[in-house]
Symmetry: C2
Subunit: 335 residues, 2 copies
């Protein structure tokens, strides 16, 4: 038995998640976000299940996934210092590479590089106002870049009653951005959006491409948002009850395994799918304090992390039911 | 210039933190918690500055730090399955090893192993009620273990007005635990406690040993708790402004670099020590959204993470001012 704590993947559920979500997105190009799994093994399965390519968050993630995928989109407003410019030039010579831009302050000096203009879909994080997209696109063209279109990430879909609204906000803002490009004589061939919570609300009248990430595994956030059920979740942390006190037990999976993510709507710091009434009321680096559940010291429990992207990035490998472990090839690839 | 984001250590401040805190704990054995830095380079400096040994959180951390330290305490109620029992036996044959126990349900089958009984100092996480400590110690002795004393972690010191109270709670409960052992004829030679926020309140009438962790680097939590100032903080994340919008900028250090820890008393998801009015109002995996601060795209900024233990555990190495990088040797050592 593998020592606890460790991450365990159910590959049957994973394949079911790919099939179900890719089918739900029929008619759109599906470009999954590899930041969730950071694993070449998972990337291969996404491509086999019909993904047109992969999204990544950093240039170093792109360098890793270029081993298995020749069509990569860095869905991030990369800052192009000399070091990163050299790396992007090298990578663009080997694969079909697209990067995000969200302004005109520091356009890349990589002639012919494909770019998408990032648009704020009403989340207020990154992305230009839709009305600015045409101006940014024109400046990018003038700088020798190839403008393929626009993209957004509707992160405000991570709200129990916000999924449909975030998808609608995103579609509206991306449509405005497409018009803004058209006013500059630039055609947006790619209109890329999406998040896992908003899959069922994907607007095919506006989007051409969708970038789901978490869908591959699912997590407690998705369950509590209503996107999936625990029966769909393909990754859990296997932990051991190490101490038992009046009214609580302690398991050996803390924030250095589960991640510390705890959105306001969450019921705790993760969930025990086999014990729906249990709550993780506190999380330290190596302790999950669990109430509403009792078991002897030594009992193994499954814990579904709140945010699977964080949990995976803390691990070097994923145990796999019925197979050899998968490496987290891009763990820590932040640059 | 090293690409951003990366972690940068100021070794002069680090040495000053060691000297100041070890001096503040004069009269107590100082056994720093290595989970904070996970680095052999830092451990060597702590030992050179007078630490009697190291605390660690897991057996795998102990295996790493056994390379530079022959006196290790696993300050955690380790569960002894067959695999971990074999590892602890091997390690106890090489170094002076002590482990925590917090009950009698699964005592280790490692004859002669030194143990400390974990006591709840009023935090309500792990640790037995003080009145049970004697019973647990007697059972441990009967099982062939060597009971050296008791320990606690006053984690409720992580509260702006809770530092002195947590130290007092801890001293009271540890004193009760010592009496509980005495009633069984067992002398507590070691009474180990402490946390960084409660250093200045260490009770020398009760404690014999202190286990500070975060003190080596400091972090935004410690500044906001009032333990240290930004001028004491020896580790920061170097990030780049990658996008600039009306009322906010985005830097390229997200939760996969800073960690997602955000206690209720924190002013945000980390702090910019050079810009005291700036606030990190939102954190995604690769985005820090910063308000109260404006700078052009490409500007480098220093960000002090809320919880340095989490940030270090996300990195493979630490850049060091004026020296070669230090490896995070025990990164991910959770088992």
């Amino acid at each position: 038995m593998t020592a606890t704590p460790h991450l365990l993947v159910d590959p049957v559920r994973l394949e079911a998640n790919l099939a179900r979500t890719h089918a739900a997105l029929a008619g759109l190009a599906v470009r999954p976000h590899a930041k969730t799994h950071k694993s070449l093994e998972v990337a291969r399965r996404q491509l086999a299940a019909g993904a047109v390519g992969l999204s990544v968050a950093t240039v170093s993630e792109a360098e890793v996934f270029a081993r298995v995928c020749d069509d990569l989109f860095v869905a991030y407003p990369v800052f192009f210092d000399a070091e990163r410019t050299a790396r992007v030039r090298a990578l663009a010579g080997r694969v079909r590479l697209t990067v995000g831009i969200s302004g005109t302050d520091a356009l890349p000096d990589v002639p012919g590089l494909r770019v998408l203009v990032e648009v704020d879909p009403g989340m207020g994080r990154s992305g230009a106002p839709a009305a600015d997209a045409g101006r940014i696109a024109a400046a990018a063209q003038a700088a020798g870049l190839v403008v393929d279109g626009v993209f957004a990430f509707p992160g405000h879909s991570y709200s129990p009653d916000g999924r449909a609204r975030a998808a609608a906000d995103e579609a509206r803002e991306l449509a405005r951005a497409v018009e803004s490009l058209a006013a500059q004589g630039i055609t947006a061939r790619v209109v890329s959006g999406g998040s896992t919570p908003s899959v069922e609300f994907a607007d095919r009248g506006v989007l051409t491409e969708y970038r789901p990430g978490v869908y591959v595994f699912g997590d407690a956030q998705q369950v509590e948002l209503g996107t999936v059920t625990f029966d769909d979740v393909a990754l859990s942390v296997v932990a051991t009850v190490v101490a038992r006190f009046e009214g609580r037990v302690v398991a050996d999976a803390g924030s250095k395994v589960l991640g510390a993510d705890r959105p306001a709507y969450a019921s705790g710091f993760g969930r025990l799918p086999d014990h729906p009434g249990a709550r993780i009321t506190a999380l330290s680096e190596h302790h999950a304090t669990i109430t509403g559940f009792d078991a002897p010291v030594g009992t193994r429990v499954r814990i579904v992390p709140n945010h699977v992207c964080s949990a995976v990035n803390l691990a070097d490998e994923l145990q796999v039911v019925g197979a050899q472990p998968w490496r987290v090839d891009a763990r820590g690839c932040n640059v």
